[in-house]
């Protein structure tokens, strides 16, 4: 089963005629073709004004609605420049995309506040923005992560960070644990999907046995996740929190990674997660071992 990405996933890319849009669409198509040859998992793309054309074999449409009707797509990967991203997300939701994965980094917070408010009654699930995307190893990937570092298996990964997710998947692979699905929720202050949403999905997914949660400084999403784990999650949880040495008041790359007013420190998050039984690695080198320990 896995979560979010399954064999019925049909993907389009909004922004497919851009440099990175095309590059990552090609990579996602390659990955899907390897595991589901000939099924046309990656169905095409959208760039307003460039409809009725083709780019490297991908049909290009003017709108997401048109792409959905003509290709049967149910999932959109968004790689448009930041000023246009909020609009692209809302177009995808309006056109009936079930899963919207916003890769774009640098969207204004106010835009995401409006998106969240506008999507309140939408059934679409938004992942991101500013995230590596979602992969169900051996099925399909929607995003910019390298496919080969992920192996199929029964651990679900939820992470705020891109390369740290790759590191985690790599370490899990080395201790013989593949992944059911790995989801990057992004490092922005406001995200479409949070830890709790995904903890719920992984908890009820029969193909997931354990959950790896990778957080970082800023906000209190990890503490809220800990509360949720306490009351709703019976599967083993392991994790890591980045930014134990980060100074207060400084933004550490991600817009959301900032310790403000004494809140959002790594120490608080680690303590909260450990108090509900999660195995949290002290070192980023210990993520694989932490998961192994949690599974015993």
């Amino acid at each position: 089963m896995s979560i979010l990405v399954t064999k019925s996933t049909r993907i389009i890319c909004q922004g497919i005629t851009g440099k990175s849009g095309l590059f990552h669409s090609q990579k996602c198509r390659e990955y899907a073709e390897e595991y589901q040859p000939g099924t046309g998992v990656f169905a095409g793309g959208v760039t307003p004004g460039k409809g009725d054309s083709e780019v490297d074999g991908f049909p290009v449409f003017n709108s997401v609605a048109e792409a959905r009707i003509k290709t049967g797509a149910n999932t959109s990967m968004i790689l448009v420049p930041p000023p246009f991203c909020a609009d692209a997300i809302l177009e995808a939701a309006d056109a009936g995309m079930q899963l919207i994965v916003a890769i774009t980094e640098g969207i204004p917070v106010m835009d995401m506040i409006r998106v969240r408010s506008a999507m309140k009654n939408s059934t679409a699930r938004l992942i991101g923005p500013n995230c590596p995307g979602v992969i169900t190893p051996g099925v399909a990937k929607i995003g910019i992560m390298p496919g080969y570092i992920h192996t199929p298996g029964r651990i679900g990964i939820i992470s705020k960070s891109g390369t740290l997710t790759y590191e985690a998947a790599w370490q899990l692979g080395r201790v013989g644990m593949g992944q059911s699905t790995a989801v990057g929720i992004g490092g922005d202050p406001i995200a479409g999907t949070n830890f709790i949403d995904l903890l719920a999905l992984f908890q009820s997914d029969p193909d997931t046995d354990g959950i790896m949660l990778i957080g970082e400084i800023g906000g209190s999403a990890e503490q809220e996740a800990a509360e949720y784990i306490q009351s709703h999650v019976t599967k083993p949880v392991a994790g890591f929190i980045a930014g134990q040495t980060a100074p207060p008041g400084k933004r550490m790359g991600h817009a959301g990674a900032i310790i403000s007013g004494g809140g959002g420190t790594a120490a608080e998050k680690i303590a909260a997660l450990r108090s509900v039984g999660a195995v949290i690695a002290d070192s980023p080198a210990g993520m694989g071992d932490a998961m192994k320990q949690a599974m015993q």
Binding site: M110, K250, H254
Partner: protein, 395 residues
Amino acid sequence: MKIHEYQAKALFRQSDIAVPRGIVAKTADEAAAAFGELGSDLAVMKSQIHAGGRGKGRFQEYPDQAGVVLVRSSEEARENAVRMLGSTLVTLQTGKDGKQVNTLFVEQGLKIARELYLGIVVDRAVGGPVVIMSSEGGMEIEKVAEESPEKILSETFDASQGLFPYQARKLAYALDFSSKAVRNAEKLLPQLCRFFVDNDCSMVEINPLVLTEDDQLLALDAKMSFDDNAMFRHKALAELRDLSEEDPAEVEAGEAGLSYVNLDGSIGCLVNGAGLAMSTMDLIKLHGAEPANFLDVGGGANVDQVTEAFRIILRDDAVKAVLVNIFGGIMRCDVVVEALLEAYENVGFSVPLIVRLEGTNVEKARQMLNDSGRDIISAEDLTDAAQKVVASLSV
């Protein structure tokens, strides 16, 4: 992006948000003239730096001189300005090196009845903006939240709808405002919330927001920061940026597309990805040393970027060793090594360089490093990298 108090107050004034009358002074003569022009018998002179705690702060050159002073004559204004302008103010928030004061803001004195706190931020849990108020004006809100959380009032509002008048009244009544003050709050609070949304603010803080003896509400202080990601649609705001308030290395890094934060330790780091970069700092600390910086080179890591990153890291004299930690995904490790080797040549290394690579084509990349004949130490994994870089400090 942060701006100065006097700039923030000018923006407030444009948006019809009441502030005391004030004049910017960059010389002692201007400060003296400003006092005369304000025409009140009391004025406040405030150092304009981006850090808070100015009232309690003192100057390095004049240990008795406060960063914010009350003056009662033009002469007094001039004398204080002479000491303040060009001197270095150290406050709890500036760090021990302090900040040079180049601008003063001279404001009329007011007959203050009450000092309150007002802040607007984005509440991540709610996914929208929230206005926070407290009766404890002048105090740090974090301290109030810790010591007497019942004194913190808050109202979340919809970014498109703004704060409704009833919400403003709710806050005002909870703060025991008089009828006249409630009416003023009903006007001011929604205006402030609108200002926050329209200008893509990350934070607006008015501490204190004062209630005068005649029930007027004025922003006695104004602190604000803006969402860097939204500056593309606020060209006029972007021009208010004061580069002299920022770390020059961080500014330079930003221009090169690198995300860099200067820290106090001795191990320079070059990493791809913000999460991995933070983790690398943690790893160094865990092995008994301190990171000299946070540096996320981003997804590209081409020769130019790596060269620039090395230059910025090595300019810090405290750096005694450099750790490169790259997880090559889409970006292949062998391509990274090519860039590393070329940058290594360009920069001219004088401290040990430890490289930990993982990911696509890693075998080939390690071979290239070993064959390069350069004095570069290759690490097997994260722990090995940390041990090697820390060990290199004591050689």
